[in-house]
Amino acid sequence: MTSVNPPLSSELRSALIDIAPALVAGAPIGVLFGALADAKGMTPLETVLMSALVFAGGAQFAAIELWQTPPPMLALLVSTALINARHILMGTSLMPKLAHLRPLQRLLGCTVMADENWALAERRAAGRALTAGYFLGMGAIFWANWVLWSTVGALLGPVVGDPKRFGADFAFVSIFISLIVQLSKGRRAVGIVIASASIAALVHAVVGSPWHVLSGAFAGIGVAALLHHDENAT
């Protein structure tokens, strides 16, 4: 890991380049969210506020599924907390790599931490020190992109239609597969990925979403701990 502090402009440029594929992939998803919110009777202002303040696509789509007038507060709260519970693990993993940042910088970074920028930050931290410019800049760019395209969807959604029909939803999957490959090193990582995917698929089929997310994550984490034990014993 290098201790050199690169210029802010360079870090922001790196952040933009790294997050660019996710920005492109997020655009049609944001438009879809805005369109669905419009169809559920939310005003554009309410849609923009939800995207800006919550900034959690999975939880927002689940909320739209649940949405009624008046909104079911408890169901929305529980659904949001469950779907976003993975952020606890993500933050716990990333925070030691941000220990050199100021508390306010870490806090701001956490408020815009999403799967995509978190994974890219983890990848960056594996090779060199994370900077505030890179981490916060990437989060801010990704947040602004989500708010922008949600707004577009809220205003124009009914005429845009479902982006899944041209495969836009698969863009995120391809990004995540690429990141898993980059973050998984050694034979043990294969076991972690297989355990996570298998348990997640099983729980999704038997119990349903969002329980598969944490179940799969804990399965992978458990296998990592077990395999570590086995390696030491031999």
């Binding site: 959690a56 909104p71 709260l77 949001t80 606890i88 693990l89 701990a225 570590h228």
Partner: protein, 58 residues
């Protein structure tokens, strides 16, 4: 552009729940320093989480 007060309250509740999950790592991380098997489990968090990641989930 209208903003219903009950809708705003629902959005704020969702935002609060999300913020708590996002900042929990800040509170938890200084409290333990994993080693050995615990560290192996800790290091497995990125691939274990990413394996479940499917669109759209921010």
């Amino acid at each position: 552009m209208n903003l219903d007060h009950i809708t705003l309250l629902a959005i704020l509740l969702m935002a609060l729940a999300t913020l708590l999950t996002r900042t929990a790592g800040l509170l938890l991380v200084g409290r333990f320093r994993p080693t050995g098997r615990g560290k192996a489990a800790f290091d497995a968090i990125p691939p274990a989480i990413l394996t479940q990641s499917s669109p759209p989930r921010f």
